[in-house]
């Protein structure tokens, strides 16, 4: 069920109705049960069997958390953490990378002339959102291990934390330290919560359906037949993709945050105008914030962070981003994408080791360069294969222009995307909208609903659902 679908609208209306209409506010436990049941139904709507994975991950880390809470000896604690890592990463590894590893092995066999020419790669169905909820449960186990988080004694609370449907399949990746306390002490939902939630949901829908999907139509056409297009088309296509993926993912995050708000939960922000970043470090502080902070706190710091020699720090940065790239999917393209960001972050750290990053001179030039470097890396992220990415770069100098019906809209939405980055922050925009008189807001919502209906494809998936 995607957020911009009729079935989600029906589902959400039923869940809200049951949550507020059928269960009294004083019966908090029943409301949590409603949320867990709704979340499992939401997740199972793709493929019911995969709810077992969600359940397994929940039970494993709840148990590990409890045991870590009562265990003081270092060695058993390390074993318990290892069990959580093995369970979660094993599950992630099998479903996400099993097919890829098998494919590479078949390629090696074929090159060496060992294998059977008709041997088949494994076709493993990737459970939606597995990368997100395994990282979420892992962070809980690591936090309990580090003593940052007290283990929860309520399986119900923990199940809500892991499966909460607004952010289950594509984040933001929520920390237990932020979420679990909200289950204990949550003020009643107010009119302000509802207004803020609605603004986020409607803005998110516009980002996804109107902006991202329209840009996606142009991007798909160009990347589907690269040899046809010249440099100008390709350049427009990669700008369009940069904004498509931003609108798509930040739109999803907005809807998730808004939906959670209607239940009285506050989720962390995931994006903050990433393309005005003046360097790679700032970019990662603005792009997919919940993932980049997860990688920093649980991978980069675990690898040693910047506590060792400068050389070790550069290696840690590179390794973190390489694995971050691989987190997005089992493909060499994501490895290259991660490697580019890792090398770039390491290089930036080297150049700014004297603290020159605070230098505000040439800020626009730095932003321009950073944006284009990000775009260059996006080519690997979007291209179907590595050879397509190479073909993309080799054709950048080619002449010619292929007119398409969606070209004008692509140009318009790229310009609008840039303008939205240069203007006030999204939070400020939401506040300004909420300051409008109520009837005017109603008119705005109706206009958005019509736009979303017209632009909405019959089947629209969010890009980050595949990760």
């Amino acid at each position: 069920m995607v957020f911009n679908s009729l079935e989600f609208l029906v589902f959400f209306a039923i869940v809200l109705g049951v949550y507020y209409g059928a269960v009294p506010a004083s019966w908090e436990r029943a409301r949590k049960i409603v949320l867990v049941v709704a979340s499992y139904a939401f997740y199972g709507s793709w493929n019911p069997i995969f709810t077992l994975l969600l359940l397994a991950s929940t039970v494993l880390d709840f148990w590990v958390g409890l045991r870590l809470g009562s265990e003081t000896r270092p060695t058993p604690r390390r074993w318990l953490l290892g069990l959580s890592l093995l369970g979660n990463l094993g599950m992630l590894g099998f479903f996400k990378y099993g097919g890829f590893v098998r494919e590479q092995w078949l390629a090696v066999e074929s090159l060496a002339g060992w294998g059977d020419a008709v041997a088949q790669p494994w076709s493993i169905v990737l459970p939606v959102g597995i990368s997100f909820y395994t990282f979420q449960t892992l962070s809980y186990a690591i936090d309990v291990y580090r003593g940052v988080q007290k283990p929860t004694r309520s399986l119900l609370d923990f199940a809500v934390f892991v499966s909460f449907f607004p952010q289950l399949v594509a984040g933001p990746i929520v920390r237990s330290t932020d979420f679990l306390p909200q289950l204990d002490k949550r003020p009643p939902v107010t009119g302000t919560d509802v207004e803020e939630g609605l603004v986020r949901i409607f803005f998110g829908l516009v980002k996804k359906v109107v902006f991202a999907d329209t840009l996606g139509a142009y991007v798909d056409a160009v990347f589907g037949d690269l040899p046809l297009y010249g440099g100008a088309n390709l350049l427009l296509a990669i700008y369009a993709y940069a904004f498509q993926i931003y609108f798509d993912f930040s739109g999803y995050s907005d809807i998730a945050i808004g939906t959670a708000r209607l239940f009285g939960f506050r989720l962390c922000e995931n994006f903050d105008r990433p393309y005005i970043a003046a360097n790679p470090r700032e970019f990662w502080q603005r792009w997919h914030i919940s993932l980049s902070s997860w990688l920093r706190d649980y991978l980069y710091i675990s690898l040693g962070g910047n506590r060792g020699t400068p050389r070790r720090t550069y290696i840690n940065l590179g390794l973190t981003m390489l694995l971050g790239g691989l987190w997005h999917g089992a493909s060499w393209n994501f490895v290259v994408w991660g490697a580019i960001h890792g090398a770039w972050l390491a290089a930036h750290r080297y150049w700014t080791r004297d603290g020159s990053t605070r230098d505000e001179r040439w800020i626009w030039l730095k932003r321009f360069a950073t944006f284009h470097m990000v775009c260059a890396a996006w080519v690997f992220f979007r291209a179907a294969t590595l050879s397509d990415a190479v073909l993309f770069f080799s054709r950048l100098g080619a002449g010619g222009w292929v007119a398409q019906e969606a070209t004008n809209l692509a140009v318009l939405f790229v310009v609008l995307g840039a303008a939205l980055h240069l203007g006030p922050s999204p939070i400020a925009l939401h506040q300004r909208y909420r300051a409008l008189p109520a009837p005017l807001q109603g008119v705005g919502y109706a206009a958005v609903a019509v736009l979303v209906f017209l632009f909405s494809p019959s089947e629209g998936r969010f890009i980050y659902f595949q990760f």
């Binding site: 008709v118 398409q404 019906e405 109520a438 109603g442 109706a446 609903a449």
Partner: protein
């Protein structure tokens, strides 16, 4: 809360006005457009009607390779004609639409059950197994799945066709004419808008068309295994028919030779995949007729694997004995001899 009530009231009022204006201005065009987008269920509705209830019924379910066309008579009809000439007449119905695969075929089996056919023949085009994403006809035909089959249907891999279980349940409301008309209106209106703004290269050069054909040829040459969602759906279609006591045959249609010779692994690979389909069908209890290698290049009229008159005749020659046996065994032969 008063602010919210005002907002909601204005919102609902304006949406109602927008729907009214759209229905007044573009209503008929939109419904027509919507019908053309979701044609599979309409084709099935139109063709799934018995005209000769005293005769045995042979139902064919498949893609464009068995669709009636102006150029050639499809082989199911040719077989029907031959049976009639030998006084072993059977009524033939064809539930087919271009580009459909095993998801829509599963739904079509649900549709033919009520007609009590003597035998069902399902076309399993290898090309249909390698597609990813949505499948034409699968959603609008989902309303044909019998209610008693729903618990089992919920366990099938609809996700591979972009269909969630709630969507499958919502699709059942399309069985009501008013809902279906509303659905056509909404989808048609949206399509009319999208046609105005979305991506279509204005002039496709020759090389682009050639690359498109190359991709089409490669469609046949992709791995499948027993867990492939489209094969799971075929097995479910077969089992649904068998559970209702209908003799079921799955036919793997011929693949053009130039497709099989497209890459060094294709001939072996295609044979292996045909074998995978065959094993799954046989394990489900149906008969499997593997004709993937049955026709020569000159028997096809295009790259898509459609036959010319000569190819159709050869297909009728290959399959007619099976159909004749089914019809005679199950209908004409006295019960004690069956």
């Amino acid at each position: 809360m008063q602010r919210l009530a005002i907002m909601f009231g204005v919102f609902v009022l304006l949406i109602a006005v927008a729907i009214g204006v759209a229905a007044y201005l573009w209503g008929e065009d939109a419904v027509r457009e919507g019908r053309s987008m979701y044609s599979t269920a309409q084709y099935f509705e139109l063709r799934a009607q018995r005209r000769l209830p005293s005769l045995p019924l042979v139902a064919w379910i498949g893609d464009s390779t068995i669709m009636p066309s102006e150029e050639v008579r499809p082989y199911p009809l040719e077989i029907g004609k031959r049976l009639k000439e030998t006084r072993r007449a059977a009524e033939t119905i064809i539930l087919a639409d271009a580009g459909i695969g095993t998801f829509a075929e599963y739904c079509a089996v649900g549709k033919v059950l009520s007609l009590r056919p003597t035998a069902v023949y399902i076309i399993a085009n290898l090309r249909a197994f390698v597609r990813t994403g949505s499948e034409r006809g699968a959603l609008d035909a989902a309303s044909f799945i019998p209610a008693s089959e729903l618990p089992r249907a919920a366990t099938l891999p609809w996700h591979a066709a972009g269909i969630t279980i709630p969507r499958l349940l919502l699709a059942r409301t399309l069985a009501w004419p008013q809902v279906r008309e509303g659905f056509y209106f909404a989808e048609g209106l949206r399509q009319m808008f999208r046609d105005q703004v979305y991506s279509r290269p204005l002039h496709l050069p020759l090389m682009t068309r050639i690359r498109k054909y190359e991709r089409e040829l490669k469609d046949w040459d992709a791995p499948i295994d027993e867990q492939s969602p489209r094969l799971v759906m075929l097995r479910a279609a077969v089992e649904l028919a068998l559970r209702n006591g209908i003799r079921t045959t799955v036919i793997m249609p011929p693949i053009p030779k130039y497709v099989m010779e497209f890459s060094p692994h294709s001939v072996k690979g295609i044979a292996a995949r045909s074998g995978v389909v065959g094993r799954a069908v046989s394990a489900a209890g149906a008969r499997y007729v593997n004709l993937h290698n049955a026709l020569a290049t000159e028997d096809f009229r295009d790259l898509g694997g459609h036959y010319n008159r000569q190819g159709m005749d050869k297909m009728a020659d290959s399959i007619e004995p099976l159909v004749r046996k089914d019809v005679v065994d199950l209908f004409y032969r006295p019960r004690q001899e069956r």
